[in-house]
């Protein structure tokens, strides 16, 4: 597997530069040639000294989940970090400040929380920072230097990243380099007792490709840009806001247009309007906004207008937990809105998937003339992975069904009932094809009609045309991993949970359990055939997800009549590998019992 698998946690308070240190560190690791996955913990309040944790896992091959235990724990603030001392594994390195300005109460210093198997590295961060820069504000950079020195990481890569991060503030950049050097010297001189070992990074070179440390939201924005997004209308909401912010700064550079609307309803309405006018248009939101948007989504569905909605789920319902992750908006994404209103919903499982789904969404919206929801969650939005971007964006520019020669002129049937249920589509500006799209049920010409036969025909059209999405070119609707053929336990996962599912699957395989995992990316239309075939291979099927009701499990059950075990964990944090693994073991044991009986 991986000859490098090291997880570093840096824990401090807001104001210690914890997140900045993590940011530099992950860039460096990606630069050196490792793959990184990083998920930080931010304080809930804007001001104050809340806890921050920068947590990153460094591997040869891209990992899609974090480990329960870290290999290195750095404390920039003991009052916050002490609670996390237990997160460090046996023989791991625990690095902390060994000086203080004020008296510390008994037990208030990390030295009394170092567990028997840990290797302690007290470092005079404050003194080193003051000596190098005259102030103690660079303790976080000193810590980075120490890590680099202790683990033998290339100093130049760090200095490059520091220079890039502070490129607009020359003085800060210079003093940061001095602080780094001070830490680096201290690190090289310290005797290394832990067994944390960085293997040689694999430098995979794909001609023309670029490798970037990027988070889910930035990847979504990039996918939209690479797919040629024309218009974006959005309203700020955690955790989707940064998609809009990134697009706000990038789109004008490409001559494109972004407007912040007065609410989510306006945002989706404008998106549908722009889609009607032939533009590639999108909006982004979270659960509460999606609730508001459902009526207008129905309009897009009824009027067969393309629209793309990026949704990043957070704790719900109502205002819920704005800064915590959850997977509880599946129901509303797939079914939200009154009437029989089918739409396409695709849910990426990692950051690279966020990029691809974002771009492909525009293709699908155009090709199948419908709103498409890209469903991610806060874990994906805020987590960083090393993503390899191909030299040429893998997205098609225009997938609209064009009009044939005879379709112009009087009586243009915008909603012609064709064999594949997709009608040729004219847009405003096309001569002779004037038509009105309406939220009322309508006939082929688009004129309001409430006739039974027509409603049946149109309902069928709106549902049938989406089935082609399951075969959409160059898109992975679902994928199976692990053991081929019959297995003891199969995992069915979606969204960010799939990373943990994979990790649990590998561990189960290592423990001798025949195990496979399938990720379902296209939730609507549901890939019933593929999922059924997978479930038939598994003696037990486990469906882990981060919500209370088992929304995905229910979706599977609604489409297929096969037994499954639902594992729900609505904790506001990613579902844990251990929990999934425990359940796999339990199910495997059940299999054994059944065999014996």
């Amino acid at each position: 597997m991986s000859n490098t698998d090291i997880q570093i946690s840096i824990c401090g308070s807001a104001g210690d530069g914890t997140i900045a240190a993590g940011d530099i560190l992950r860039r460096v690791m990606a630069d050196i040639g490792y793959r990184v996955i990083c998920f930080d913990v931010y304080p809930a309040e804007i001001r104050g000294f809340g806890k921050c944790i920068a947590r990153l896992r460094i591997t040869d091959q891209q990992a899609y989940s974090l480990k329960a235990k870290s290999d290195v724990l750095v404390s920039l603030n003991d009052s916050h970090a002490i609670a996390h001392a237990g997160e460090l594994r046996e023989c791991g390195a625990l690095i902390y400040e060994n000086t203080s300005i004020v008296a510390i109460a008994e037990g208030g210093h990390m030295s009394s929380h170092v567990q028997p198997g840990h290797l302690p590295y007290p470092v005079a961060f404050r003194t080193l920072s003051e000596k190098a820069t005259g102030a103690n504000r660079s303790r976080n950079i000193v810590a980075l230097g120490f890590i680099a020195g202790l683990f033998g990481l290339p100093a130049e890569a760090f200095k490059k990243a520091i220079a890039a991060k502070f490129k607009s503030k020359a003085a800060v950049a210079a003093s940061s380099v001095a602080a780094f050097d001070a830490g680096y010297d201290a690190g090289t001189q310290r005797f290394k007792l832990d067994d944390v070992c960085f293997g040689k990074p694999t430098a995979t070179v794909i001609p023309g490709a670029t490798i970037e440390m990027i988070n889910g939201n930035a990847a979504v924005a990039r996918g939209a840009l690479d797919a040629g997004i024309d218009n974006f209308f959005g309203y700020p909401i955690t955790p989707a806001t940064t998609i809009m912010e990134k697009l706000a700064s990038e789109m004008p550079k490409h001559g494109k247009r972004l407007v912040q609307t007065e609410d989510e309803i306006s945002a989706i309405a404008a998106t549908v309007g722009a889609g009607f006018a032939g533009a590639r248009a999108a909006t982004s939101t979270s659960g509460p906004g999606l609730s508001l948007m459902t009526e207008m989504l129905g309009l897009g569905i009824m009027a067969e207008v393309p629209a793309v909605v990026f949704v990043s789920q957070r704790g719900g319902p109502a205002t819920g937990m704005p800064t915590k992750t959850e997977q509880s908006d599946l129901n509303i994404a797939v079914h939200g809105g009154h009437g029989d209103a089918p739409r396409i919903v695709i849910a990426p499982t990692n950051v690279d998937g966020c990029y691809r789904c974002a771009g492909k969404a525009f293709e699908m919206a155009e090709a199948y003339q419908t709103p498409v929801i890209v469903l991610l969650d806060m874990y994906l939005s805020n987590r960083y992975e090393t993503v390899v971007f191909p030299a040429h964006p893998p997205f098609e520019p225009n997938m609209s069904r064009k009009l044939g020669k005879g379709e112009n002129g009087d009586g243009y049937k915008r909603f012609a009932l064709t064999e594949d249920a997709i009608s040729p589509r004219a847009i405003p500006g096309d001569k002779g094809c004037m038509h009105v799209v309406t939220g009322l049920e309508h006939n082929e010409l688009g004129r309001p009609s409430d006739q039974t036969d027509m409603h049946l025909a149109m309902s069928r059209k709106r549902h049938e045309k989406l089935k082609a999405a399951l075969q959409h070119p160059n898109f992975t609707c679902h994928k199976r991993f692990g053991d081929e053929g019959a297995v003891d336990v199969g995992l069915l996962g979606w969204g960010s949970t799939f990373g943990e599912c994979l990790e649990a699957m590998y561990k189960a395989q290592a423990a001798g359990i025949r195990c496979a995992a399938m990720k379902v990316v296209m939730l609507s239309p549901f890939p019933a055939e593929a999922v059924a075939a997978f479930m038939d291979d598994c003696r037990q099927v486990l469906v882990p997800e981060g919500n209370y009701q088992g929304q995905f499990a229910n979706l599977v059950k609604a489409n297929l009549a096969r037994p499954l075990t639902s594992l729900t964990r609505p904790t506001g944090a990613p579902v844990r590998v251990e929990d999934i693994l425990d359940e796999i073991r339990r199910l495997a044991a059940l299999n054994q019992q059944a065999k014996a009986a």
Binding site: S266, F276, G278, L299
Partner: protein
């Protein structure tokens, strides 16, 4: 100049006789039938909206806007049926959402002529939250607000512009809500063109629609129109004929306070252009952002429309 109407809404007997053949020829020659769709309106006979359809199609003809370059966007309500009756592109959207949809259409393609149409409920009840923003952004669309002070399609409930005391099925004793003053609101929202007209004066109506559409920026045209089926007491042709007046000749359309003062007399609605100013549209602002960001605006202009030289009428 219109001949003044009698209280019964009929032309005075002293006017010239109108011959049907002449009238039909006139209509055909005007070319505005090309802008009427094959679908017959579903409105009640006598509804003010017929005049408004005629007004819009005339305006499109007069301004020489090709059918395919016009988009009529509506919400829900009797007035929102509008798009079906004009032979242009159209969006019949959801209750209260015409303005944001129209904003989306215009932002996607500035070369299109976008007209938003809706009623008083659609615009100021459920849709009220969108009005200030379309106005302040100065989106380059024309908003035709067809105000019959009632919810006609759902059979006659009170609307935000219904008068105090008005009796309806949902206010059987009387309407206890103070009505909104749309003109005052749009003036304070920063609309760059605010005008009012009356369905009972078709010529005035036509002229105002043309002016509204010619204005570069967000044009708000408030159109007083009776609901002959469900309002037999309040906003009738008889009453409106007596109440409406022209704006004073001395009225300066660049004087916003003066416009507001005129708007503060809802019992005596004034017809004409209340306010007009030139300022950057949303499109201009977005183009400006592109330039600021170092991008180029060239790609957005569809080549076909460039050739047709439609830009001329907008300048």
């Amino acid at each position: 100049m219109n001949a003044p109407l009698s209280p019964t809404g009929r032309l005075p007997r002293t006017a010239q006789p109108v011959y049907l053949d002449d009238k039909l020829r006139q209509i055909e020659e005007s070319g505005r039938l090309g802008y009427r769709s094959k679908t017959l309106p579903t409105w009640c006979p006598g509804c003010g909206y017929f005049a408004i359809v005629d007004g819009l199609t005339s305006a499109l003809r007069q301004l020489d806007i090709p059918n395919e370059d016009a988009v009529v966007v509506s919400g829900i309500g009797c007035s929102s049926r509008f798009p079906f009756f004009v032979n242009t592109y159209g969006m019949h959207t959801l209750h209260g959402r015409a303005l944001p949809c129209a904003t989306g259409v215009k932002t996607a393609n500035e070369a299109l002529t976008v007209v938003a149409v809706g009623g008083d409920g659609d615009g100021f009840a459920i849709g009220g939250g969108h009005v200030p923003h379309a106005a302040r952004r100065n989106v380059d669309i024309t908003y035709l607000l067809l105000d019959n002070a009632i919810y006609g399609l759902t059979k006659g409930q009170t609307s935000p512009t219904s008068a105090l005391g008005f009796k309806t099925p949902t206010s059987p004793y009387e309407n206890a809500d103070q009505p909104l003053n749309p003109l005052l609101m749009l003036l304070s929202y920063g609309a760059s063109w605010v005008g009012q007209t009356y369905a009972g004066r078709p010529d005035h109506l036509k002229r105002m629609i043309v002016e509204a559409m010619q204005h570069r920026g967000f044009s708000y045209l408030h159109i007083l129109s009776p609901c002959v089926t469900f309002d037999k007491t309040d906003r009738t042709y008889q009453n409106l004929d007596l109440q409406v007046r022209e704006l004073p000749a001395s009225h300066d359309p660049s004087d916003k306070l003066a416009a507001m003062r005129e708007a503060l007399r809802p019992d005596h609605p004034a017809l004409g252009v209340f306010y007009s100013e030139q300022r950057h549209t949303l499109g201009d602002a977005l183009d400006g952002l592109v330039e600021k960001a170092g991008g180029s605006n060239a790609a957005r202009e569809p080549a076909a429309l460039k050739q047709a030289g439609k830009k001329a009428r907008r300048r």
